[in-house]
């Protein structure tokens, strides 16, 4: 099962993928130990891995390939199995079935201390009785490294995470952000082939989290290391990861770049999980050029652009992101509506939430359905703002609609 094959992951029409630059673009500071890989082999291949706790199926025959140098995020609601999967990669849980191939070696049954991967724990798990220096040196001592080599490596790591002058402090003398850096330095010190990060920023406040996200990305790029991060925060995943695997109930719902996930979700579940979305269930009426006409349950006909992969089912779900819904006082002037070049829905504004950068509106249609629209506040003065109770026209282009078959 590879996600790269176009049959499995169709790119939605018109969605170019600027994505994030593939590492390593710069000279790595300290390159991760690389071993020979066949050109098409992923660094890490998870094959049909399953794990059951009692009667709870935490991970359900999951397969996933991760390339060397990738920043991969496992995203999902709590209890979806993402942490269990990560712990199986680290070796703290043993899969009931399946294989975990690192390079060519199956490590599914290898105990954690013999795996060339390291993990950064959610609560950092710093050793409270050891200083910052000894925490970072801990894994190096175990590896039997010479004393002066350890000292060099520790100094390098301390510089990397900008903790100079803190080497002699104990963990309880550090702030949350500093602890996070020590944990990162400790897990990087052994130069693992894969670094696993379990909700690494969950304990930081918002501002610190944002700056740390950028630092982590920069670090990963410079080291050219493979990072796998587990998070429930979609913004975090989208900011940092080059690819995201969305998990639910022990399965991968979709593996794609952040942009693809948002603009071309595979399923209704993914569309609803990532960001906000308006959904209309309906029946496919007829086709016109590359347009599909969908009659919604509310009796409205929506024109949507047919995805490259032809819709086969009669019952579909039309999804439109709130920021792609435009509002106006009058219908857009043109006969576009008649030629299905645009979708128009008339309704009454019921709810206005000013959020700073944008304003979120809820528009109640005559059919009773509610459409959410978010409008960027591009001007300081709100001459264009709509008020609750006002009649408005919500309109959007067929190109901006997504057709979901599940």
């Amino acid at each position: 099962m590879t996600e790269e094959s176009p049959e499995i992951t169709p790119k939605a029409d018109g969605i170019a993928d600027p994505a994030k630059p593939e590492p390593p673009p710069q000279a790595p500071v300290s390159p991760a130990p690389q071993f020979e890989l066949a050109a098409d082999m992923p660094l890490l291949r998870i094959e049909g891995v399953g794990k059951t706790f009692g009667s709870f199926r935490a991970v359900d025959r999951l397969s996933l390939d991760i390339r060397a140098g990738e920043f991969f995020a496992l995203l999902g609601p709590s209890g979806c199995g993402k942490t269990t999967l990560l712990r199986m990669l680290a070796g703290f849980e043993t899969p009931d079935e399946g294989r975990i191939l690192l390079g060519a070696k199956d490590i599914a049954q290898v105990p954690p201390h013999l795996r060339p991967v390291n993990m950064m724990f959610q609560n950092y798990a710093l050793f409270p009785h050891l200083s910052v220096r000894d925490n970072i040196a801990f894994g190096l001592k175990r590896a039997g490294m010479a004393r002066d080599e350890i000292a060099t490596r520790v100094a390098e790591m301390v510089a990397l995470v900008k903790l100079e002058g803190m080497e002699k402090r104990k963990p309880d003398q550090l702030s949350g952000g500093q602890k996070q850096r020590v944990a990162l330095a400790r897990s990087l010190a052994r130069r693992p082939q894969v670094l696993l990060l379990d909700e690494p920023l969950a304990a930081l406040d918002k501002k610190l989290r944002e700056s740390t996200q950028l630092e982590l990305m920069d670090l990963q790029r410079r080291l050219g290391m493979t990072f796998i991060i587990v998070t429930h925060d979609q913004e975090e995943a989208m900011t940092m990861a080059s690819r995201i695997g969305v998990m639910d109930a022990g399965r991968l719902e979709q593996v794609a770049t952040p942009r693809e996930l948002y603009e071309a979700p595979h399923s209704r579940w993914v569309a609803e999980f990532i960001g906000d979305v308006n959904l209309f269930d309906g029946e496919v009426g007829w086709r016109e050029n590359n347009r599909l006409l969908v009659t919604t349950r509310e009796g409205v006909t929506l024109a949507v652009t047919e995805p490259r992969q032809r819709v086969t089912k009669a019952t579909v779900c039309v999804a439109i992101r709130p920021e792609k819904v435009k509002l106006s006082r009058r219908a857009p002037v043109s006969d576009a509506a008649n030629t299905h070049a645009i979708n128009r829905l008339e309704g009454v504004v019921t709810d206005v939430s000013y959020l700073g950068g944008l304003t979120a509106y809820k528009v109640k249609l005559e059919s009773g359905a509610v459409v959410r629209a978010s409008v960027a506040n591009t001007a300081r003065l709100d001459i264009d703002a709509y008020l609750a109770g006002q009649r408005v026209m919500a309109w959007f282009a067929p190109d901006d609609c997504m057709v979901l078959e599940q």
Partner: protein, 271 residues
Amino acid sequence: MTRRVNRISPFNITSLALGLAFLYLPIVILVIYSFNASRLVTVWGGWSLRWYTEFFNDRAMLDAAWMSLRVAAVSATVATLLGTLAAIGLARGERFKGRSLFSGMLYAPLVMPEVISGLSLLLLFVALSAERGFWTVTLAHTTLTMCFVTVVVQSRLASIDRSLEEAAMDLGCDPVRAFLSVTLPLIVPAIVAGWMLAFTLSLDDVVIASFTTGPGSATLPIRIYSEVRLGVKPQINAICTMVIALIAVVIVIASFASKLSSSQGESAAPL
């Protein structure tokens, strides 16, 4: 939030003074009278160290004291070893079958009346026709104090995040190494505190010791108890004062140990 809860009011001072007096007045009187020069316990005859020198010349008393110290040291050491192992088994072991029964049985001596423990041990030693003396008392005290060690160590273990051990394994330690290099240093203060607790419990036990000891091997509390039955001699006051001093020192060390352990982790071992 401006109201100071810990402000000292006259009522607080009074109740604190009364409480402390209730607890410590008898002990203070005992300590003062240990320096009494008079032969009569209840009559003050001036300051003197006479009864202390008398004690150090009393062969039988010294033997009993020496016996008590040996019993306390050996039983506390064995109890600490076993109790720590039990605590590790309970806190870190897999959820084995009968685990709750095991922990219940382990804690039973905490609430068991000492007379019953003493009597049952006596019956056991008689049935085994073991010669009663140093070893029987030591064994009995080990069973008595082991559960206290377990409680102290287990609560410390429970407060240590398991991910610390996982982190150690992740960084190249096998499970045994991970325990030795991360968990053990963190629970050492609790182990020390547990040993101190076991030591003092053994030192002042009279019930179980009187059941399980044999002729010619009385512990200090038994010796004191039998002397007092013939009338309180001022010498007893001196001995008791020294025992109090010893226990006070041990308790102060134990609380320092547990403070050390709490500054390294989240919560202190209860003492």
